[in-house]
Amino acid sequence: MPDDLPLLEVRDLSVSFRSRGRDVPIVENVSFSVDRQEILGIVGESGSGKSVTAMAIMGLIDAPGVKITGSALFRGQELVGLSQRSFRHLRGREISMIFQDPMTAFTPVYTIGWQIDEQIRVHEAISRTGARARTVQLLGDMGVPDPERTANRYPHQLSGGLRQRAMIAMALSCNPSLLIADEPTTALDVTVQAQILDLLRNLRHNYGSSVLLITHDMGVVAETCDRVMVLYSGRVAERGPAEAVFRQPGHPYTGALLDSIPPLTGPRPERLPSIAGAPPPPLERPSGCAFAPRCHYVHESCMILPSLIAYGTQDVACVLPAEGHPLPPRAAGAA
């Protein structure tokens, strides 16, 4: 396989669920790619479909009536429609995943070490002691103090930060080329979050892994990601290099989202520039631009679904740049 191909290439991925006799579109035509040793951030509010996208790529959605269409090529292998049996060999070995709440993500009745050993032994012919040696090594690499003792502890005996480190150790145990991190720091305190983000940032150097980071926090994206994709109501609003997106957002949603975050430095605004209303539920999503009802710049051409168009280094699902009215650059863009 040639090296210039992206590690993961997702095209027109759509996921819908059947509810009360109707197909509910959760994710619509999402396309993106993850390169080797890259951190891609998928950012969006709750209900934007960011987690569902990740679960679809992992083949972890098995709700009755679910429909997944489109394509997701991982190292040239099609993941959409892949049998569960084939998925099993990928999961944990080629693609692994960490979750939001490290407390509930471990089985409560086994030790941390046992659970990491299990993953290694399922994918590789390795002795029990060999697996444990690697587990201890991994835990140590993740900055877990006294890894040998920690491996013999149960999940509830560890702090949130240690649990998440153990989770990452487990995810990396078979040297996966892609790590999907679904809101890995949301349940953690801010000082611990900073440590975990630091750890994730360094993975590509130490383990050569790419990371697909799912988050709702623009700050986390800015600190961690090389590139970013903004989802709004199940559709791509904007994607591109993080630096460009933060300097000059191309989509009014991205801009408004960044503006509505209270600043920690600089002048305090009298009122936060907020976005009126709330994202539409999937069944009430407009046929045109989903953000139109809340957008300052809404006009008649927004009644038609905008396609992603190139805007500088970004791709933006908005008519404004094409109409010659791009958003102004952000004042605090690149400090």
Partner: protein, 340 residues
């Protein structure tokens, strides 16, 4: 994983939790079929006198060993020579499958089993429904007192429940039944005769109180620490009003789900007590007493015991299905259990 499809707050009429649950229950086909069967059986049992007098023309409460009845124009003795060479003597008529004449045959006293089955059903259903209601009432009281007030009240009630729990349910029920059935019950000026149905009702209700009180108490404890109760306190809502407005409506769903399950347990307990002759007293019948009547005939006229058994199974099954339906509709994950 949970996918929220988004509740539409913009359109539609405000649907209360009860209405939503009701709609879910109506859509649940097994539960609705169970309810229909249950109502049908109840109706049939209510119509027992009509069946006895106007269709079967029989008195199901007096012995009739010397009598006879007519079937398809022929005169048939109720007690017939035994058709099984191994058993000597007379045995009662078997099922004729003819609604007007000993449909299910006769019992050892020559009484119409079909008519007794309907009369017995009245008692069985009355006892089990009333016992379930009474039990839920007591359990709610115990559960709410214990869960809401906590402290000493909770400790005393919980220990009492522990003690009751440590005695096998049926042994407990049998103990109480034997004591009361033998001589009736005299409490001050009130005398309850031993054939009064109140006795089995109260006993069955009592022995199942720990089973029903536990989930109620758990629910109340959860509610007591719920944020909306904290919110009510911060608003300065008095305790009794919190109990009335915030706690009770939220345990009512638990109670509603418990109702059919407890009725089912009560029916099984009633039939067991009656089977042991310490429930409903002769000459009155219940499904349990009829099974008892049929015990001696089990090898010659099994229908006497099989028919009431099937009736019990049907009703208990429909109640359980209904309970499952209610639990799904009201979205409650709690199970009530029993011993054998």
């Amino acid at each position: 994983m949970v996918i929220k499809t988004g509740s539409s707050a913009v359109s539609g009429v405000a649907a209360g939790p009860w209405r939503t649950a009701g709609q879910a229950l109506v859509r649940n086909r097994p539960a609705m079929s169970a309810l229909a069967i249950l109502l049908l059986v109840t109706f049939a049992c209510i119509m027992a006198p009509f069946y006895a007098h106007d269709i079967a023309h029989t008195d199901p409460f007096t012995s009739n060993v010397a009598g006879s009845f007519s079937l398809n124009g022929q005169n048939v003795d109720i007690m017939q020579p035994n058709d099984n060479p191994l058993h000597l003597g007379l045995s009662p008529a078997g099922p004729t499958w003819h609604p007007s004449a000993y449909f299910l045959g006769a019992d050892s006293q020559g009484r119409d089993v079909a008519a007794r089955l309907l009369y017995g059903g009245r008692n069985s259903l009355l006892i089990s429904f009333s016992a379930a209601l009474l039990c839920i009432g007591m359990a709610a009281l115990v559960g709410v007192l214990s869960g809401f007030f906590g402290g000493v009240v909770d400790m005393v009630l919980s220990r009492l429940m522990d003690i009751m729990w440590a005695v096998p349910v049926y042994l407990f029920a049998i103990s109480l039944s034997i004591v009361t059935i033998s001589q009736g019950l005299k409490i001050g000026p009130f005398t309850v005769e031993s054939d009064n149905l109140l006795i089995p009702i109260v006993i069955i209700a009592l022995v199942y109180v720990p089973y029903a009180a536990r989930p109620v108490r758990g629910r109340v404890m959860t509610l007591r620490n719920a944020e909306f109760v904290m919110a009510a306190r911060s608003l300065g809502v008095p305790r009794w009003r919190i109990l009335l407005v915030d706690i009770l409506p939220n345990i009512s769903a638990t109670l509603v789900v418990l109702a059919p399950l407890l009725t089912a347990l009560a029916l099984l307990a009633e039939s067991a007590l009656s089977f042991l002759s310490i429930g409903v007293q002769a000459p009155a019948a219940s499904w349990g007493t009829i099974i008892q009547d049929g015990e001696g005939l089990i090898y010659t006229r099994p229908m006497v015991a099989i028919a009431p058994g099937l009736a019990i199974v049907t009703v208990v099954l429909t109640l359980n299905i209904l309970g499952d339906g209610l639990r799904d509709a009201l979205d409650i994950r709690e199970t009530s259990r029993k011993g054998s």
